[in-house]
């Protein structure tokens, strides 16, 4: 490694002097800092620092997504990995280009967006849709707001909504035949690990998606709830997956959303590591379960029962990995509760009332809009009491330590 370090350090001077390469220094810096810790030392207080940095912080989210990612490969084959690589490549390029234009350092927040976005897509999604979507997410969802830390919306979700609306037939969230489907070409062990892609995937992607799309838990539930005659109702009931199937991932759906169990596993790791806000996760899940439970119990069949609500669709993925994106969530911990409640309520409402079977991504984007407002309200409530005192202090201020 010493050889590599020496090589990089020697290259730096060349890049700095070259008229052409000088502009690409942000890229060089990013690679440099990624490979070797910088020799930057504190010269003002505090002189010791917490060892966690943003690369580690973001990478831990990626690690927490690993169980779901590996499961996706098992369910649908190695092509899933290709989609993730494509997402990283195209999104990363967009990120670097903007850094070069802005003459700013490349931020590592993209490490999460790059994997989170493809996991919300069907394994059958064409690669160019992934590329287009991730570039849209990075540019429109983040960079036009001023880059990392300044975006209102979760970039991965912006990308998801973009492809969802632009290419409905290609990304209807169906996935394809799962490894558990008895008819699937890759049924049983080693499943997708021995395969590039489930055979049905490509066929689906090109032609008749709708025919195969009925089998996601939410679609099946909607079909059952809105069935006009008994026969369709019976048929729909048979299509509805069992709780165990939803826990393990024996259902159709996006690459990363099917196995609730693995998502909870990764999500709990995030909570233990203190990266995700447990307040957001808890309030989102509890609200969604409670609200859907109340509506269902009230006899409104359009609303799924709590267990289905929690385990189906993208709720687990959304609650643990997307709602907790610190940039687009509120910054004060008191506001996290309200934020989660908004997401939970909106998810259930969209799923139950609107024409869309799935509502998590819209719910999170909707709540993103309110993040700053929630912060503002919390700050006003917290500091109003202190106002009189502060005025008093201002008179005394010159004697204070700050002088």
């Amino acid at each position: 490694m010493k050889f590599l370090l020496k090589m990089i350090e020697r290259r730096r001077a060349k890049w700095e002097q070259s008229r052409l390469l000088k502009h690409w220094l942000p890229l060089f810096d990013a690679i440099d800092a990624f490979l070797f810790r910088r020799a930057e030392n504190a010269r003002r207080a505090p002189f010791v620092r917490d060892r966690v940095d943003i690369k580690r912080y973001m990478m831990m989210v990626v690690i927490a997504l690993m169980p779901a990612t590996i499961a996706a490969v098992y369910f649908w084959g190695w092509r899933c990995l290709l989609l993730i690589v494509i997402s990283y490549a195209f999104g990363g390029t967009a990120e670097v280009l903007f850094s070069v234009i802005r003459k700013e350092e490349v931020s590592e927040g993209f490490l999460v967006t790059g994997i989170l976005f493809p996991l919300t897509l069907s394994a059958a999604t064409p690669w160019w849709v992934v590329a287009l979507g991730v570039v849209f997410g990075v540019v429109i969802g983040k960079e036009i707001f001023g880059g990392t830390g300044k975006n209102f919306f979760n970039p991965a979700l912006v990308a998801r909504v973009f492809v969802y609306i632009t290419f409905p037939s290609l990304t209807a969230g169906t996935g394809a035949q799962n490894v558990w489907d008895p008819n699937a070409a890759n049924a049983g062990w080693p499943g997708g690990f021995a395969q590039w892609s489930s055979a049905a995937v490509e066929a689906d992607a090109e032609t008749e998606v709708d025919a195969a799309s009925s089998a996601t838990p939410l679609n099946a539930y909607k079909k059952w709830a809105t069935a006009q005659d008994e026969a369709t109702r019976e048929q729909a009931l048979a299509e509805r997956p069992t709780t165990m199937a939803m826990l393990l991932g024996n259902v159709r759906g996006s690459m990363g959303e099917t196995s609730a169990l693995l998502l909870v596993l990764g999500g709990v790791m995030l909570l233990v590591w203190r990266i995700a806000s447990w307040r957001i996760v808890l309030s989102t899940l509890v609200t969604a379960a409670a609200f859907s439970g109340i509506m269902h119990a009230a006899g409104l069949e359009k609303f799924a029962p709590p267990v289905t609500t929690l385990l189906s669709g993208g709720l687990m993925l959304g609650a643990f990995f997307m709602a907790t994106d610190p940039v687009s969530a509120p910054g004060t911990r008191q506001a996290h509760w309200t934020y989660g409640i908004i997401i939970g309520l909106m998810t259930v409402l969209i799923r139950g009332i609107s024409g869309f079977p799935e509502g998590v991504m819209f719910a999170i984007l909707f709540a993103n809009v309110f993040a700053s407002l929630l912060d503002y309200i919390v700050i006003q409530l917290r500091y109003r009491k202190r106002k009189a005192r502060r005025l008093l202090v201002r008179e005394n201020a010159p004697h204070g330590r700050a002088a």
Binding site: L5, F34, L35, F36, R37, R38, A39, N41, A42, R43, R44, A45, P46, F47, V48, R49, D50, R51, V52, D53, I54, K55, R56, Y57, M59, M60, E105, S107, E108, G147, T148, G149, K150, V272, W273, R274, I275, S277, P326, V327, G331, T332, R333, D375, I379, Y383, R386, R389, R390, L392, V393, R394, N396, A397, P398, H399, G400, R401, A402, A403
Partner: protein, 572 residues
């Protein structure tokens, strides 16, 4: 005297929340005392795990050799700069007062060593440029006692004791160094109704107060009694570090007759700060930008009490103190008793490892001693921390499992494996990045602020909004910068923001004064005009009166004439 006591008691009751009132009342009983020994703590803050280079428990205090020269700034932390009483070339004795101004908020400055004043120069300090003296030592260890000392200080009048403390330069040796004499300090006799002795030390590499306290318990107790007497018998609390719990029963038995409470405090940073300590011990919230004195509490540290005894009983002025030499930058840690004014570099000579950064006071809120040999040990210097300046570049350092990494997050192996001394060096362990609102800074803030929001509004120069967000509530402990995932120097930015607000405030005041002066001038001109008008009016009235008088006179004349005519007619 009784009346005073009653007033003090009511004031105390008004300031305390109801829950505290109850605790205070039950304090005399056995139960209350047992309660006191449960270590107290506060929300927020950060309990540092065992760091490498921490001062080993049980380490004794060593005597440092007499310095070859002493640097004496004519300003101590809290006070104003005082004029020098000596000039270049003069011979001074250790303990002699060489700078003094009884009118300013200040304390006299003493020569810490005997010798000759070699030069008077401007010394750059964190508070700006200060005139300083350099005294070349003549090698004599003698010192000159203060004017008056007492065999039994507890019978002396408090005013005299205060005067002696003032002359001996005994200030609160904590962070702020608040002078202890009334007429030259912001401490008014009736403004202190609680005396808090702080023996907590939670900052990394801070001076273990227990090591100073243990061999000097008698002296300490005597010092506490003197300070109690000076401040008219306030409620007194000694806050011991939970790690020094063994000392609590001893102190309790020695001081119980004096009504002194002993409390244990968890060593969670920044427990030793006045603002936090008054809240933990007394339940009084220090207003933003204020000090403990704003809620009637004077916080002093262990060495202040020792120095109070030394001054009043031995007549020894404050010319030496114990300094902690801790950190990964030292070959061996040490506690040394040294003369104040000892140049920092002379004190640490030969003790440092090759690559190290020397810091004045703590690793969290200290100042770097980057250049110059003239940085002295001052009254408020509790330590000279040295940290290993790690400039190595490990491969993928950010993905290391981190068995010895310290972090508020739990992303490193150190959180899941048996405790091990944590690594501590100056490396930032990351690059500066935009804020992602992870919220760590607001979680550790002991004052319940939102440092990331403050930083955001300050970066766009919204000073009013920063004040709304309690900019002056910041007590500058440095924890927000410590935990920042994006390595943003939050504390530095907040301190700069405070300075900007002060500047703006001063400019506003100047503007206001200017306007007021103009207004007054205009008003005076107006008044003058008015007076002139009144004068004119008076003149007019006078004229009118004269006219009336004339008229009356005329009428009278007429009447007289008529009367005369009548008389004439009658006569005719």
């Amino acid at each position: 005297m009784l009346e005073e006591e009653a007033v003090r008691a009511t004031r105390r009751a008004q300031r305390m929340p109801s829950s505290m009132k109850h605790a205070h009342r039950s304090n005399g009983g056995k139960q209350g005392r047992r309660m006191a020994f449960r270590a107290r703590t506060f929300p927020g803050g950060y309990a540092f795990k065992q760091l490498k280079g921490e001062i080993e428990p049980g380490l004794g205090v060593a005597e440092a050799p007499l310095p070859s020269r002493a640097i004496v700034p004519l300003k101590e932390t809290f006070g104003a700069e005082v004029p020098a009483l000596v000039s270049e070339g003069d011979t001074v004795a250790a303990g002699q007062i060489i700078g003094r101004d009884d009118e300013l908020v200040s304390t006299p400055i003493h020569a810490p060593v005997s010798g000759r004043v070699a030069r008077i120069f401007k010394l750059a300090t964190p508070d700006g440029e200060v005139t300083a003296l350099e005294i070349k030592s003549d090698g004599s260890t003698n010192w000159q006692p203060v004017e008056r000392k007492y065999s039994d200080p507890l019978t002396a009048p408090p005013e005299q004791l205060a005067e002696t403390l003032y002359l001996a330069g005994v200030t609160a040796l904590g962070k702020k160094g608040i002078p202890t004499r009334f007429n030259s300090s912001p401490v008014a006799p009736d403004s202190v109704d609680a005396l808090v002795v702080s023996a907590v030390h939670s900052e990394p590499y801070s001076l273990p107060n227990g090591a100073v306290l243990e061999p000097n318990l008698d002296v300490f107790v005597s010092g506490v009694r003197i300070l109690q007497r000076v401040f008219g018998g306030p409620r007194t609390i000694i806050s011991l570090d939970a790690r020094d719990a063994a000392l609590a029963p001893k102190l309790e038995s020695m001081l119980s007759a004096d009504g002194v409470e002993v409390a244990l405090v968890q060593p969670k940073f920044p427990a030793e700060y006045d603002e936090v300590l008054t809240e933990v011990l007394l339940g009084r919230m220090v207003p933003d930008g204020g000090t403990g004195l704003d809620v009637g509490a004077l916080v002093v540290d262990v060495q202040t009490c020792l120095a109070a005894h030394a001054a009043c009983v031995e007549g020894k002025p404050l010319i030496e103190r114990v300094v902690a030499l801790g950190g990964t930058g030292y070959k061996e840690r040490a506690l040394v008793k040294t003369r104040i004014g000892t140049p920092a570099h002379e004190l640490v000579k030969g003790r440092l490892v090759e690559q190290s950064l020397l810091v004045h006071n703590g690793a969290l809120a200290g100042q770097p001693i980057l250049n110059g040999d003239d940085w002295p040990v001052r009254r408020a210097t509790w330590g000279l921390t040295a940290l290993y300046d790690d400039t190595s570049r490990p491969f993928m350092g950010w993905m290391a499992p981190g068995f010895d990494f310290d972090s508020t997050s739990r992303v490193f192996a150190s959180s899941y494996f048996p405790p091990k001394a944590r690594r501590a060096d100056t490396n930032l362990a990351g690059e500066l990045r935009p804020c992602i609102q992870c919220g760590y800074c607001s979680e550790v803030c002991p004052r319940d602020l939102l440092p990331f929001q403050l930083d955001r509004v300050l970066s766009i120069d919204e000073l009013d909004e920063a004040e709304e967000l309690r900019l002056f509530g910041c007590i500058e402990c440095g924890l927000c910068s410590y935990v920042c995932v994006s390595k943003i120097p939050l504390m530095t930015n907040i301190i700069a923001g405070k300075r900007r607000v002060h500047e703006e405030h001063e400019a506003e005041q100047a503007e206001l004064a200017k306007k007021q002066a103009e207004e007054e001038a205009r008003q005076q001109a107006g008044e003058a005009r008015q007076q002139a008008g009144e004068a004119r009016q008076q003149a007019g009235e006078a004229r009118q009166q004269a006219g009336e008088a004339r008229q009356e006179a005329g009428e009278a004349r007429q009447a007289a004439e008529a009367a005369e005519n009548k008389q004439e007619g009658d006569a005719a």
